[in-house]
């Protein structure tokens, strides 16, 4: 009897203690994120994590540039307003290098398999062997094209086209009377807009931003070839007002059936093949980003990732959430709720070994090949002192590239020649880099 009572007592005691512990553990974390489809989906599925852990989440969803400004201010002042932040491959190495972010090498959930991450993506988020952000979805860029228009033009898209083929095909597909533009590409000024496209393109032309002494290279013949080719191709076969077109504008044009080809983020593949939004959903084909036979393709590499600022006071709970949101079981949860085609792509090898996913996503193979083809450590044909494929991972880059982007956008609008734009780009980059002490 006594023993029974003791057993009952200790069971009750343990139960109470565990209950109290879970009440004491239950906490609130604040997560800052961007308003992209996959992130919104994470927000809608997060109650599952809240139910499982007893913690609650405050969501701060912001536009990309506003988020960057907000988060940069917070992290550089040690504000501690956010416990988890969505950042890109540009910020991760810079902030990680400044010790602003918490290492994710340890403390993640046991089933969070770090070795399953795609090497190119993992490499972009790692500094000196330390992983500073967990990739939520990864993307590269590729060619999306209209199979029907390609056929009508009497051409056939190879899996790995060259720039010359793209230009020729664009010209052949263009039908101004039917409002069909052979090629749609980014023209809107911004380091993450036209400069992402042009920097990636320049890699395949053998150009680079800086030489090994950090001297700007816009006066090189490779950059001249890149920009001249881009402007000629866009003038021949691009849409009117292309200098104002970013990702969303081109997505609209493609979905309306006004682009023969569109070279942009792999994540767009699921949008253009979705019959709910796209009028051309069943006519889209995919190919690798073009090259020039120099050994580098014109595709970029980006991963929207979750990172934990060092100023967060709830790092353990934050790590628990990050583990959950970037795990294989989260992918399975999305598949269960929204179908395999909608799972966040481009971060884990296991996803590309999953037949259900490969069957549901016709763009899966091309996405994986594009991501694998990008090397942030050696983006260009020539040697470079920086990492990053479509960006240069230094804090000065965003400001400089946006100014350079304005020059190139201006050239596309016909307000200046390629030579003038390159001369301005060279002058302003040299000035900014000298001022920054390079």
């Amino acid at each position: 009897m006594n023993m029974k009572r003791n057993l009952l007592g200790s069971t009750l005691g343990f139960g109470l203690a565990a209950g109290l512990a879970s009440i004491a553990m239950a906490d609130e974390i604040t997560i800052a994120t961007v308003n992209n489809g996959d992130m919104v989906r994470m927000q809608s599925l997060s109650p599952k994590w809240e139910e499982a852990t007893g913690n609650t989440i405050n969501w701060v969803v912001l536009e990309e540039n506003v988020l960057r400004q907000n988060v940069t201010t917070d992290i550089s002042t040690g504000g501690g307003q956010y416990d988890v932040m969505t950042i890109g491959t540009y910020e991760a190495p810079i902030w990680g290098g400044n010790d602003w972010l918490v290492s994710l090498n340890e403390g993640m959930a046991d089933d969070w398999n770090i070795d399953d991450l795609l090497p190119a993506i993992r490499g972009g988020l790692t500094v000196d062997g330390t992983l500073y952000a967990a990739p939520f979805y990864g993307e590269s860029s590729m060619v999306m094209y209209r199979k029907d228009l390609m056929e009508k033009a009497g051409m056939e898209m190879p899996d790995a086209p060259t720039w010359d083929f793209i230009r020729k095909a664009a010209k052949a597909m263009t039908d101004r009377d039917a409002e069909i533009n052979g090629i749609c590409a980014r023209g809107k000024a911004g380091w993450g807009e036209n400069m992402a496209f042009l920097t990636a393109m320049s890699n395949s032309f053998g150009a680079r931003w800086f030489d090994m002494d950090w001297k700007a290279q816009f006066d090189s013949s490779e950059w001249k070839d890149t920009l001249t080719f881009y402007l000629d191709m866009m003038n021949e076969s691009g849409p009117a007002g292309a200098a104002n077109n970013g990702f969303n504008e081109n997505l609209t044009l493609f979905q309306q059936g006004k682009c023969g080809m569109w070279i942009d983020a792999t994540v767009a593949a699921s949008f253009v093949t979705n019959p709910k939004d796209s009028t051309v959903a069943d006519k889209v084909g995919f190919a690798l980003a073009p090259d020039n036979g120099l050994g580098k393709r014109g595709n970029w590499l980006w991963a929207w990732s979750l990172a934990i600022p060092a100023s967060s006071e709830k790092q353990d709970i934050a790590k628990d959430f990050v583990s959950w949101a970037t795990s294989q079981s989260y992918t399975a949860l999305v598949a269960e709720n929204e179908g395999w085609a909608n799972v966040p792509p481009g971060t884990r090898s296991s996803l590309y070994a999953n037949q259900d996913y490969l069957d549901a996503a016709p763009f899966a193979k091309m996405t994986l090949e594009s991501i694998n083809a990008a090397d942030p450590q050696k983006p260009s044909v020539q040697d470079v002192p920086y990492t990053g494929v479509q960006f240069v991972a230094i804090p000065e880059f965003a400001g400089i590239a946006t100014q350079v982007g304005q020059q190139f956008s201006d050239a596309l609008a016909g307000n200046q020649t390629a030579e003038e734009a390159l001369a301005s780009a060279q002058a302003l980059t040299t000035e900014e880099m000298e001022a920054a002490g390079y």
């Binding site: 536009e63 201010t73 307003q81 997505l251 979905q255 939004d277």
Partner: protein
Amino acid sequence: MARAITTQKKIMWTVLSWGIGLLIFFPIMWTFLTSFKTEAAAISDPPVWFFFDWTLENYSAVLERSNYPLALMNSIVIALGSTLLGIIIAVPAAWAMAFVPGKRTKDVLLWMLSTKMLPAVGVLYPLVLIAKYFGVMDSRILLVVILMLINLPIIVWMLYTYFREIPGEILEAARMDGANLKNEIIYVLTPMALPGIASTILLNIILAWNEAFWTIILTTVNAAPLTKFIASFSAPEGLFYAKLSAASIMAIAPILIMGWFSQKQLVRGLTFGAVK
């Protein structure tokens, strides 16, 4: 004949004013219409005007995803609070400058205005660090004070201009009748300057309502107003124009309605003193 020309002219002016009015109103109307469309209809080409399947789906999606009532309440408190605090400080300041000008009054006024020329980002870090030090990040009181400080030069300038229109003799007469300073301000000055004060209040509420730099940077969740609410619906990768439109309409509706009801005071105040 003369009458005919006048009528013709009248018609011309009326048509022209309506044309300009509609042109200015068009973006708001288009946002309103888009907010009832599906995402696919929002980007359709050619654009659809009125004949589409009207849906409230966007509004329900917006309400489901964010805390609109809290954002609205924050906007109201911040806009009203900062304006009223500003008025309390600015009325005595403007009174002193208008009726008891010193040698340096003009310089002080210009100096106050010059603070508006400083790019906001120039004081971003000091302000964030101060707010952090006092533990008031993400609080309404912080935004009330900051927005009051930002708009104070405009409030003082506007009130100063209105007060200057009031003849000093009237105040003198009141003083001769035995009014003290308090009575002079409450019973003589304020009623005469009321249209001016009203339009200053309205204009500053609108300015504070629309302020989208400090209100976004200095808040996260608790004090986040409608500016941050809208910023959460703009997407770099993905087309959510219909939802963005719904969020925009929800954010501008209160201030639009307020402006509608008070447009008489607003116009009267803004043109006060313009015709001599």
